[in-house]
């Protein structure tokens, strides 16, 4: 974990400097992050929030250990271009939070020419930007990701729980995700058990459950490309240490 190269947790003063950066999104991921309620108290003594467009007054971007990034980069927005350059310099590790930052999300449907900023036409997830790609270590799916997932993720990051973090590391290499993945990656490959977890994970009901064939049913018109369905599917990656053969 390179974000703690020169730091030691034995140092009582150590606090992980965390920032929350906002690109083009609804800010729902950031709200979900601050929605951890009492669980957040447990980690407040080890984490310091140094930057957030919602909770801190700073206008300049300070140096930080972990930058949580929400939203897709808008190519036509000079502020975004400046922010991504700053991000590359100031953050040691970047985590793409939510569908927009990880896989494009609902921004995949944007065609621009809309009020109030018709010039904003093209959006790219942070995992596809070469400048910061080497630092984007993890991608968290969801629209927005559950507060419990974000809490567990932050805890795993502090504890360096690689078992937990590994799937999120693999997701950074997958720049496209949609409900169609459930068919292409699970159903068509003969792995669907018909448990219905994907349909419960879908935030927009694009995936429902077809009782006749005991398989998920997908309505592409409702999909926001957040990747929740495939991430939640027990067949997409190892569920948890049960049972393993290593």
């Amino acid at each position: 974990m390179f974000y703690r190269d020169k730091l030691s947790f034995e140092d009582e003063e150590f606090k992980l400097k965390v920032g929350f950066l906002h690109f083009s999104s609804c800010s729902g991921c950031q709200v979900a992050f601050f929605d951890m309620f009492e669980e957040a108290v447990e980690i407040l003594d080890t984490v310091e929030l140094v930057y957030s467009n919602m909770l801190t007054k700073r206008r300049d971007l300070p140096r930080m250990d972990v930058a949580f990034v929400e939203g897709a980069l808008c190519i036509e927005d000079p502020h975004h271009l400046h922010l991504v350059k700053e991000l590359q310099k100031k953050a040691k590790l970047i985590v793409a939070v939510g569908g927009c930052a990880s896989f494009g999300g609902v921004r995949r449907l944007s065609c621009g020419n809309q009020l109030p900023q018709p010039q904003h036409q093209s959006f790219v997830p942070i995992t596809e930007v070469d400048l910061v790609k080497p630092k984007v270590k993890y991608a968290i799916p969801g629209c927005p990701p559950n507060p419990s997932l974000l809490y567990s993720f932050l805890l795993a990051l502090l504890e360096v729980n690689e078992d937990f973090l590994l799937p999120f590391e693999l997701m950074t290499f997958s720049t496209r995700a949609s409900g169609m993945d459930i068919f292409a990656e699970v159903v068509n490959k003969g792995f669907c058990v018909g448990c219905g977890t994907c349909s419960t994970a879908c935030p927009t009901r694009a995936i429902t459950y077809n009782y006749e064939c005991s398989r998920p049913a997908f309505n592409p018109g409702l999909c926001v490309y957040c990747g929740s369905c495939l991430a939640a599917c027990p067949q997409s990656f190892k569920p948890y240490p049960q049972p393993t053969y290593t």
Binding site: S148, L170, Y211
Partner: protein, 297 residues
Amino acid sequence: MVALNSRFLLGKYREAFLVDGKGENPVKAIFTLMLKFGLIDGLLTASEDGNSPRLILKAEDVEIPVRNTCFGVNSLLKKAVQKYRLSRLAVFGPACTFDGLNKTQYFGIGCNWTKTAVALKVSFLCPGVLTDTAFLSEVVDITGKRAGVSRFYFQKGELRYQLKNGEEVAVPPALHHRYVNSACRYCLNMAGKGTDLTAVYLKEVNRALFIVRSERGLSTLAQIQRNSPSSLQFRKAGKEDVDELLSFLKEKVLLNISDIIERVELGLPVPKWNDNKLRKFYRIWNSVDVNSEEEVF
């Protein structure tokens, strides 16, 4: 080499009990009693024919799947946890239901705060699930006649169906293997490792074998006994009761392993983000060390 022993096939367990209910299925009886005494506030399972998921909130509405068809149970998870705010939920289904549930609990993906909402996980010993049409075809293959399946059970290490016309037929594992859901052909967790309790349906409708895996499972059964001592009769299962099951599981798991090996050798695609789980098994099949980890959340 992976040893096809009890630990691998059935998983770790604390006790096995033969349970008799008073004229009804003991699995149904425990859920009814738990709801009645407030030990749980909801039951997530499927309808009796297993075709549609059910969220049950009242003791008098309890029904459980009695065929090896149990689909879509987790599709009601969000409704149970986030809409109805249930915090002591019991879940009943095959092991794959709990793969999804455990993953949701461990990672927090899918349904918020599931980690603390589930009070009891009960699986049934699943020989592989079938759809309605697969059942019909399988029965035609076995008996040469068209008939629906009303329930499945195990008897002396044999999988058997009770048909809707009252007839009872033995189902050969090799034939059954051809009709099950394709994902069930790669399953190595038929006994529901990772749950609190595994129920095995037996010939007598009012009898079942309970394989209790966790402290939570034991204490729940103890509470049911304390609250209603005459409803269920428990006695410790003998070694032969468990060994009979092991012989069936061994035969079925060997069929599944041969399908996994075939799949890997053919180089059939696996999902992205999957950490190569089948290939990993393929490698370990010929290795010497095994470390099975199990955890109940």
